[in-house]
Amino acid sequence: MRALFSLFAVAVIIVVVVLAVTTDAGRLFFGTILPYAAIAIFLVGMVYRVIDWARSPVPFKITTTSGQQRSLPWIRNSNLESPRNKWGVLGRMLLEVLFFRSLFRNTKADLKDGPRLVYGDAKWLWLAGLIFHWSFLIIFIRHFKFFVEPVPGWVMMIQNLDGFFQVGLPIFYITDGLILAALTFLFLRRVLIPQMRYISLAGDYFPLFVIGGLVISGMIMRYTPLRVDITDAKLMGVGLVTLDPVLPEGLGAIFFVHLTMLTVLLLYFPFSKLTHMAGVFMSPTRNQANDNRVRRHINPWNPEVKVHTYEEWEDEFREVMKAADMPLEKDTESK
């Protein structure tokens, strides 16, 4: 149901775009106004998000340790899993962000007869996640060629690597296939695994469909007869970034669908779970060192609390302590 709803929402958006861009006003709206608005909302929204998170302090150093602490000199500290210093934290974060270290740990529990609980490897989510994110990044970088002139050498290099196998005409980009496969996997596991279906919200399917729409419309423009004229696309792209927007006649509905999928994604970003892109850097269990006993962490709102002082305590128990011959601070009789 929640999946269908999201699919429906994306379908409606596509239909609206296709219909709207038959008019000049529609082309202006979906080709210029909405993209600019989306970029603005995305940037402001994400910056606001990060500032808003940062406004809440980190009262305690609650590192989740996944490896040996630093203690005695002859015990090997695992600096990447239980960082003893900033470098360890940096390494841990890099592993997390670039290679999804924690997701790599994933296992799948199975209850067998006996009863016996077994934990099998479950790297598919990690693999699909990694492929999805890296493909997304590479595709994103490849798109620079539509926005800047001259195209930087390193962008071309990445593009050439992506087309390394030189199959098809135009040359097929590996990342296009990979991201489609990864998206399909991410979607299927959400609908086919009962627990996944159970925990998924409409908001979990929506970005999958939007990105799916984005990728497929993009591929249609590259690999099918509905091919877009690259020079037109570049004119439009350069216009967009040089704040001198133009909408060449040659750009068809499919191009606007593609652009709008990106626009919708940008609009959706700051208000959704996609903020994990920035939030992962601010997770207090991951971005702090396990050096609690070496460096005192300060809690800016450390409250005054009512305690039971030694004096009050001794006052309460003096008699029994005396009877038991225990040392006292204040001996009532001797005074």
Binding site: P57, E96, A109, I199, R293, V294, W301, E314, A324
Partner: protein, 550 residues
């Protein structure tokens, strides 16, 4: 509870299929065996807790205070502003499900709301509705729902079916720590008078007498004195165990269960023997006679109130530094909270082992050292005479307690101690130890009789891994360094793997350690001490005679 206890065959049949297709529609079932009783009003009052009243979870009407919704929402708002963890964790979960089957309560119960991700959604859904744009506009479609009394019941059930073990946090791609969310949830529940007795009463006891069990100073002294006598009977050596001794070099703090419960007690005997043998200048404290801290399971403020005693006492007694005994949640507080809350400990010295001269640089600010770190250092420097054969009657495996594992990274020190005290040590499968260790199922203050079924369910993954090494290697002893473990693993073992017993590491050390002038024929439990016949090689004739008597 005298009601019939569940059977392992029944509990072992877990159905992981979620019922229906919408968890928000699932009714909350307060079923016997799966929840904890409400706080005793007198003890809640003693702690000045808000909205104290007599109620029970089985009541239909929980008599929530009139403005309960306001209190909860304001409390949530307040905590979002005080804890970045909460705010970030509320926003960034992608529901990838990686954490789902990592929770022992889900693995043992199959209840979908015990998947960490859903446990968090219980709170997140309310957060969305009142604190996010999407939730305000789209409502249920965005996973938001209005706060109802039913939701409060749900929180009560599931925030007390989480042991704050942080296993989920290890697997989450963003480190989302459901324990942190549970802690916030419990604080909110407490703010409307919904605490449980097993947390409130120990906290009140600890606040008043200095320990969770409510043992008064003279009773504390009696217990320690009794242990000294008992140790003399076993070893023929009378050790000194000073209490509240000013000017001692080291203050020793351990969980109160060590001197009042079994099998903790044998670990206490182990500490006493060890400190005597190395001639440690130390003292116990009756005021700080609790290392554990049930405040951790209640609220940050309560944690601070109880924890304050340790530094205060160290200061009063004028010790140089503090040594801490075997306890899990105690060490979470000591390692991650104490210095921040009640420090700086600038009146203490940099901890240095008086025996080996080792500087414990890793504790230079907090000035508190874990006993396993301390003992491992002694062993590494050859300061202890350990005869492993004396532990030949046990085949040991080691249970990493959640907190020393995932909030400290204390893995190798205890293992080093075990390996030097025992010949037979076999690890459980790697997915069930170290940072992936499974909780005993009864931590965080929910180890009650009334909650028995849920504890056995939650402890199932742990017990199952023990069963594996029991069947495969003949393991018969589960060693651990946690007072809650020592209290709750024995019933768990009895339920799932009855052949396996539970002990502390310093019990093993105490058994293996050859003391100068000892006359031992039994181990610390009073059972025959294996290997005595051969162990006399480097010992006095006296020992030899005794062992030949065996």
């Amino acid at each position: 509870m005298a009601e019939s206890k569940p059977k392992p065959e029944i509990l072992a049949k877990v159905d992981y299929q979620p019922p229906g297709d919408d968890w928000m529609e699932l009714p909350v079932e307060i079923r016997p065996g799966t929840f904890n009783y409400a706080a005793n009003p007198a003890n809640a009052k003693y702690l000045d807790l808000p909205h104290v009243r007599k109620w029970q979870p089985t009541d239909d009407d929980w008599q929530l205070p009139e403005n309960w919704q306001e209190i909860i929402l304001e409390g949530l708002h307040d905590r979002l502003k005080k804890y970045r963890s909460l705010k970030v964790f509320m926003d960034i979960c992608v529901r990838c499900g990686a954490c789902a089957d990592k929770c022992h309560f889900f693995l043992g119960s199959g209840d979908p709301k015990n998947m960490p991700v859903l446990r968090a959604e219980l709170l997140r859904s309310v957060y969305r509705r009142d604190f996010t744009t999407a939730g305000k506009i789209l409502g249920k479609l965005a996973g938001a729902r209005p706060l109802t009394p039913e939701i409060i019941k749900e929180w009560f059930l599931y925030f007390y079916q989480c042991t704050e073990c942080r296993r989920c946090s290890v697997f989450c791609p963003y480190g989302i720590d459901t324990a942190e969310i549970t802690m916030m949830g419990r604080e909110l529940l407490n703010s409307i008078g919904l605490g449980i007795d097993w947390i409130t009463t120990p906290a009140a006891n600890c606040f008043r007498t200095g320990n969770h069990l409510g043992i008064q100073p003279h009773g504390f002294k009696d217990s320690i004195d009794f242990a000294v006598e008992e140790l003399e009977e076993i070893t023929g050596i009378k050790v000194d165990a000073p209490i509240n001794k000013k000017g001692a070099e080291i203050l020793f703090v351990s969980p109160s269960a060590d001197y009042f419960a079994s099998p903790h007690y044998y670990t206490l005997l182990g500490y006493l023997a060890l400190f005597h043998e190395i001639g440690l200048d130390y003292t116990w404290s009756a005021y700080a006679s609790e290392g554990g801290n049930f405040g951790l399971f209640h609220s940050a403020d309560m944690m601070k109130r109880l924890n304050a005693k340790i530094y205060a006492e160290a200061k009063r007694l004028g010790v140089k530094w503090i040594l801490g005994g075997e306890c899990g949640h105690m060490w979470r507080v000591l390692h991650q909270y104490m210095d921040t809350m009640n420090g700086p400990a600038d009146f203490l010295d940099q901890p240095v082992s008086p025996i080996t001269g080792t500087r414990f640089d890793h504790a230079s600010s907090t000035k508190m050292v874990h006993i396993c770190e301390f003992t491992a250092d002694l062993i590494a420097n050859g300061k202890l005479k350990l005869d492993k054969r004396r532990n030949d009657n046990v085949n040991v495996t080691f249970h990493d307690s959640c907190n020393p594992a995932r909030a400290m990274g204390l893995f190798d020190e205890p293992r080093y101690c075990i390996e030097h005290a025992c010949n037979h040590f076999n690890e459980m499968p790697e997915n069930t130890i170290k940072e992936q260790t499974f909780c005993c199922g009864s931590g965080s203050g929910i180890g009650t009789d009334e909650n028995f079924e849920m504890r056995m369910r939650g402890g199932f993954p742990r017990a199952n891994a023990v069963k594996y090494v029991h069947d495969k290697h003949g393991v018969n002893m589960l060693a651990c360094i946690c007072a809650i473990d020592k209290a709750t693993l024995p019933p768990l073992m009895e339920f799932w793997v009855p052949e396996v017993d539970v002990c502390g590491i310093h019990e093993l050390i105490g058994n293996a350690m050859i003391m100068k002038g000892e006359k031992r024929t039994t181990d610390l439990r009073g059972e025959p001490l294996p290997g005595m016949e051969e162990s006399d090689a480097d010992e006095s004739g006296e020992v030899k005679e005794v062992s030949e008597d065996v």
